[in-house]
């Protein structure tokens, strides 16, 4: 792992929110497990990377998919009926940043009052919180390697915050 902070923006073509109901969550799980060829969906607060899709369980019955693939939402809509879950296309709602480097946890802790240590938030963990009053979804890919999504209309402010916070660790925009 480099000492330097690295920040880049991966472009996700699809983001889909899938919200089931208590009596339909098991069916939804099965459909998604089959679709993603998984033996089990990730537990609440965890994600898995499979078939170019990040599949995160945000809360019971609430799944979020991020993918570089296009048209994920129409595919999901075809296999999950409206009675099973609401499927919301949020492909354009958020933009993501990859933040890595030795100081990335310290950088995030300037804005997030959550213990991001390995014990408390191990890799393949996902959480929702806010940084600088901006709602975020944070995925920990590995120690000091994060994927973080902000709402799109806030992204300029969010990006400015990240860049400013990174300066202390020697980060400079090239």
């Amino acid at each position: 792992m480099s000492d330097k902070i690295l920040i880049n923006e991966p472009h996700f073509n699809s983001m889909v929110l899938i919200k089931s109901w208590p009596d339909s969550s098991e069916i939804m799980n099965k459909i998604l497990e089959k679709y993603l060829s998984l033996s089990q969906l990730p537990k609440v607060g965890e994600f898995i990377f499979q078939d170019n899709i990040y599949c995160a369980t945000l809360s019971p019955g609430h799944i979020m998919l991020f993918s570089f693939r296009e048209n994920l939402c129409p595919e999901i809509t075809k296999i999950i009926l409206p009675e099973i879950a609401a499927i919301i296309d949020v492909s354009h709602s958020r933009r993501g940043l990859r933040i890595q480097g030795k100081s990335s946890t310290n950088l995030l802790n300037k804005g997030i009052a959550i213990n991001l240590s390995e014990d408390n938030f191990p890799e393949l963990g996902v959480l929702q919180s806010s940084i600088h009053s901006i709602g975020i979804i944070l995925l920990k890919l590995e120690p000091n390697n994060y994927l973080i999504f902000s709402y799109r209309s806030f992204f300029d402010s969010f990006y400015a915050w990240v860049i400013d916070s990174a300066k202390e660790y020697g980060y400079a925009l090239s």
Binding site: L17, K19, W21, P82, E83, A85, A86, I87, I88, D89, V90, S91, H92, S93, R94, N106, N109, K110, I112, A113, I114, N115, S117, N120, H132, S133, I134, Y151, R152, S153, F154, D156, S157, F158, A160, W161, D164, S165, K167, E168, G170
Partner: protein, 968 residues
């Protein structure tokens, strides 16, 4: 007194690194390791400030954060920081510091005339003089008083330095790196838990540097060194110096300030000057030690009177001698220890005066010192420098003094024992309990996950702290006892308790006589302990004196609860990086840059930035919005409506749910149709309005006002989760998913037809309120035929990413019709002309009937707010209802103006504009029983600017009441 450098080398001083600095513009010299205070003493200067109220010259009194006197301003311009204790400022090359409270100069201060008037400036002076005589007199005097009684002044320039904020998590937080804190860290380190050890000083070790005994056979300095080395080898231990924990908040959340670069001339590039830390600790160990307690006697604020252990620290740590002829006034064994150590270091201590008659004879060891027991110092004199003290035999039970005797000295050290620093414990809500043995308050049983150890709980000796370690010849225990004020033959000499706020024994007595006897009242009436030092050196003495006045014990008199901050925190540190462009977040639409490139004046709508007007060729805002609104009425305009709240409502019960939350019917909205809806709060007032588009049997796209988007979502979630958990509906914010633009005007259809080939724009194909999908250059769009302007209009939604492309495509297509982008001003004009409500009318107090939507509310169903909207207050005939106003005299009307009928106020103006369609100045207003007032003339007054205007009351639908223009 004149300070100097000792032959003894100060433990903290690097003699190879001389330093130049200035005080009040004059150059002085010191060494790396000095504090501003130690260097100034070494330069023979102990008066760095004058006092707050009386402007008395005051000398350096302590060697730490408890300093009440030597508050200075440090650095200049944007970096200026007032009210900094010189005792905590680390010296660096080029440091500039300035005295405070002195005008025109430190040695000659005009305001010290206040001393002459001091009988007038007693406790409650301001209340008595000004509050009784009326506000005007206070306003007249305030300017002069503020100038006379002020601490340092804040700078007016922006601070160029960075201040950062961070969050820290630790299993164990140890506050204080003295003997107790270090030994606690050693014990905890091997458990593997994460440990954060913080100390506010530059060095760990606390009082150990003056400890003469040995620990495990090592002298204290080598024990500190070894201990720090051991601790630094643990990965789980983080050690932070120059870090002050100032607040202990709920759930073991603590606030701290790390002074990252205050000891440097300038921070490195991008290095913060200070960092605010929020520390989340599972367990907290409070080892904050104790502070020496002064003794109260006449003239005790004379420069040259100083705390005994401060003089010892100056000698031992900084190699600085505080005076040539030094006496110590003590009430405990530790005073002797200090005297002997000082002599060993080369300070000429000549006299020890002890209140106690009987003293352990083994303490009397030095032939060069005159030990006077059973005596007290009754007064100290000398103006700007102590020259003489009076001592007298003292009978403690009767509080009487014998014959006074003068002693010439230049420095008097006082040692009244130690007061535990219980501030942080007290902040947790744990009541302080009085410990009779040490005559002081110590923390009561913890109510949260913390424990206190060391001097803070009254364990003043190493033997008590290091139970398992072998301690040899440790310092003697300094058991303080509460000495109240000492009588004096000179009744006019003041006995100060709180130096920083100039509170004297007389003030306490006045407060007592006037009935302010509870410690809580005493504190507020005299402002004792309320200065920047929080009464660190004054509280215990004040409590003892008040208890004596009331004839009760100290615990009976009680103590006040300490509040955060333990030490002042700069506002800039609390603000962190939320300054300048980072002050707050903003939301931008994907068309933001286009707006800027086309002359838009941007305006904040909540946190969104929206174009207000697009200025052309030197237009004013008014010119621009009139042109834009006229273009919409005559041809076609386009406005960015991305900021509208958008909520996805999905699930088998979506229609049923909307039917329950909208006041009008929603159950049977056909697929492919939108409906305007009004939501009420549970109390029956209007909450929000907007349109919901039925996209499928189970899915709606709801729009809300920009301002209420988050509240509407939360309220829907509340109803679905807590009230109707069986309804199968999910609501999700999709505000950021869609860019929106409204294309409005008689040529809107012609414009869109040119660019959207796959939508039938005929009346049958896309009727009013119809919703359909199409594409523009293969990019999907959703088009709904809605109108806020009253003209034929369409809202075009597209995925945010494509927003700018679609916007440009439509503008290109509209070129033949001179399509005009318009901003929020024209948007407002158009909707006011139509009498459509918006934010100013949805002010949280209005009902549907008030704004003319009463008939829209369904009488066939129950919905949120349906019962309470009928309550008496909301159906009163005299309620204010919405009407239109037209200025009689062709004058602009001001929003917020009052509406007068004769001289009676009957309402107010909500929204105002110039109407290009009517060529009149018009307004919407809420006035009492408005429907019956149509045709009347009223007066709109704006008292703040003394403006008056006569206006005709009309129907609020100024323009095209029949709605024919929707089909043009």
């Amino acid at each position: 007194m004149s300070g100097s450098r000792l032959k003894h080398h100060g433990q903290f001083i690097n003699y190879d690194k001389p330093i130049k600095f200035t005080f009040d513009g004059k150059e002085y010299h010191g060494f790396l390791g000095d504090t501003l205070a130690s260097a100034m003493i070494a330069n023979g200067k102990i008066i760095l400030a004058r006092s707050f109220k009386y402007h008395r010259p005051r000398g350096i009194f302590s060697a730490g954060p408890e300093e009440p006197n030597a508050l200075v301003s440090v650095r200049s311009d944007g970096r200026l920081e007032p009210n900094s204790p010189a005792t905590t400022i680390e010296l660096y090359d080029g440091l500039d510091a300035y005295s405070q409270n002195a005008w025109p100069s430190l040695s000659f201060d005009i305001m010290s005339i206040n001393q002459v008037f001091s009988p007038l400036l007693v406790a409650g002076f301001y209340y008595k003089t000004f509050m009784g005589t009326g506000q005007k007199f206070w306003h007249f005097c305030e300017h002069f008083i503020r100038r006379a009684a002020g601490m340092g002044k804040a700078g007016l320039e922006a601070d160029p330095d960075r201040y950062e904020k961070s969050n820290i998590f630790s299993d164990v937080l140890i506050i204080g790196g003295g003997p107790a804190g270090l030994s606690a860290a050693l014990q905890a380190a091997s458990n593997g838990e994460t440990i954060t050890l913080v100390d506010e000083n530059k060095h760990f070790g606390g009082s150990l540097y003056e400890e003469q005994g040995t620990i495990d056979g090592k002298n204290s300095s080598s024990w500190i060194e070894d201990t720090l080395k051991v601790l630094s080898e643990y990965d789980n231990v983080t050690m932070m110096t120059r870090t002050t924990v100032y607040g202990y908040f709920d759930d073991n959340t603590l606030g701290a300030v790390e002074r990252v670069a205050d000891h440097k001339e300038q921070p490195r590039k991008n290095e913060p000057r200070q960092r605010h830390l929020k520390i989340f600790a599972k367990h907290v160990i409070i080892a904050t030690g104790s502070l020496e307690r002064p003794i109260v006697f006449a003239g005790n604020d004379t420069p040259g009177v100083m705390l005994a252990n401060a003089a010892l620290r100056y000698a031992n740590r900084y190699g600085v001698c505080v005076g040539d002829n030094v006496a110590i006034f003590t009430n405990n064994d530790d005073g002797y220890n200090t005297a002997h150590q000082l002599r060993n270091l080369g300070v000429n201590v000549t006299t020890v005066i002890d209140v106690r008659k009987k003293v352990d004879q083994t303490l009397i060891t030095d032939n060069n010192i005159k030990y006077i027991t059973g005596n007290v110092v009754t007064s100290a004199r000398g103006g700007k420098a102590l020259s003489v003290i009076k001592i007298a035999p003292y009978d403690m039970p009767t509080k009487t003094i014998g014959k006074e005797k003068k002693i010439k000295i230049d420095t008097l050290l006082i040692s009244g024992g130690y007061t535990p620093t219980i501030n942080l414990c007290s902040q947790t809500g744990t009541p302080a309990v009085f410990d009779n043995e040490i005559q002081s308050f110590i923390p009561g049983p913890p109510t949260r996950k913390w424990e206190a150890c060391g001097a803070v709980v009254g364990n003043f000796t190493l033997e008590e702290i290091f139970i398992d370690n072998k301690i040899k010849n440790g310092n003697k225990k300094a058991i303080p006892f509460a000495l109240t004020d000492i009588p004096s033959s000179n009744n006019s000499a003041k006995k100060f308790i709180d130096f920083q706020h100039d509170v004297s024994v007389t003030d306490l007595k006045i407060a007592y006589t006037e009935g302010f006897r509870s410690v809580e009242h005493l504190k507020r009436y005299t402002t004792l302990g309320m200065a920047a030092d929080q009464g660190k050196t004054s509280n215990m003495n004040a409590l003892a004196i008040m208890a004596e006045l009331r004839g009760v014990t100290i615990p009976e008199a009680g103590t006040t609860r300490f509040r955060a901050p333990y030490k002042p925190v700069a506002l800039g540190t609390l603000a962190g990086r939320s300054v300048g462009n980072n002050y707050r977040v903003i939301r931008r639409t994907p068309m933001h840059d286009w707006h800027l490139a086309h002359g838009a004046d941007m305006i904040e709508a909540g946190i969104w930035y929206r174009p207000q007007v697009y200025k052309k060729n030197g237009e004013t805002i008014t010119d621009a919005y009139i042109r834009e609104a006229t273009a919409v009425r005559n041809s076609v305009g386009i406005v960015d409506v991305t900021s509208l709240g958008k909520i996805d409502v999905q699930g088998p019960d979506a229609a049923e749910f909307l039917n329950r939350i909208y006041a009008n019917a929603f159950l049977k909205v056909p697929i492919g149709k939108a409906r305007y809806g009004v939501m009420l709060r549970e109390d029956g007032c209007m909450f929000d309005d907007g349109t919901s588009w039925r996209l499928s049997e189970t899915q709606f796209l709801m729009t809300t006002t920009t301002a209420n988007a988050a509240n509407v979502l939360s309220e829907m979630e509340r109803l679905l989760t807590l009230i109707w958990p069986k309804l199968k509906v999910h609501v999700s914010s999709i505000s950021d998913q869609w860019a929106g633009m409204a294309v409005a005007g008689p040529n809107s259809r012609n414009t869109l037809e040119k660019v959207i080939k796959d939508i039938d724009f005929s009346e049958e194909g896309l009727p009013f309120m119809g919703v359909t999908d199409g594409t523009i250059n293969a990019i999907p769009v959703k088009v709904s035929r809605l109108s806020f302007s009253g003209e034929r209009a369409y809202e075009v939604f597209t995925a945010t990413h494509h927003g700018i492309t679609i916007w440009k495509n439509i503008i290109q297509a509209g070129a033949d019709f001179n399509i005009t982008p318009y901003g929020t001003e024209a948007l407002g004009t158009l909707r006011i002309e139509k009498g459509h409500i918006s934010g100013p009318e949805l002010d949280g107090r209005t009902t549907m009937s008030d704004v003319g939507l009463g008939k829209m509310a369904s009488s066939k169903k129950r919905y949120v707010g349906s019962v309470l909207k009928e309550r008496i207050g909301l159906t009163d005939k005299m309620r204010k209802t919405m009407v239109g106003l037209i200025s009689h005299d062709y004058q602009p009307l001001k929003a917020g103006s009052l509406v007068l009928e004769g001289s009676k106020n009957i309402g107010h103006l909500t929204s105002t504009t110039y109407s290009p369609a009517l060529n009149k100045y018009i307004a919407l207003a809420l006035i009492q029983d408005g429907n019956t007032k149509i045709g009347n003339t009223v007066t709109a007054v704006f008292p703040l600017k003394n403006e008056k205007s006569s206006a005709l009351v009309v129907d609020p639908h100024f323009y095209d009441k029949e709605g024919k223009r929707l089909y043009v």
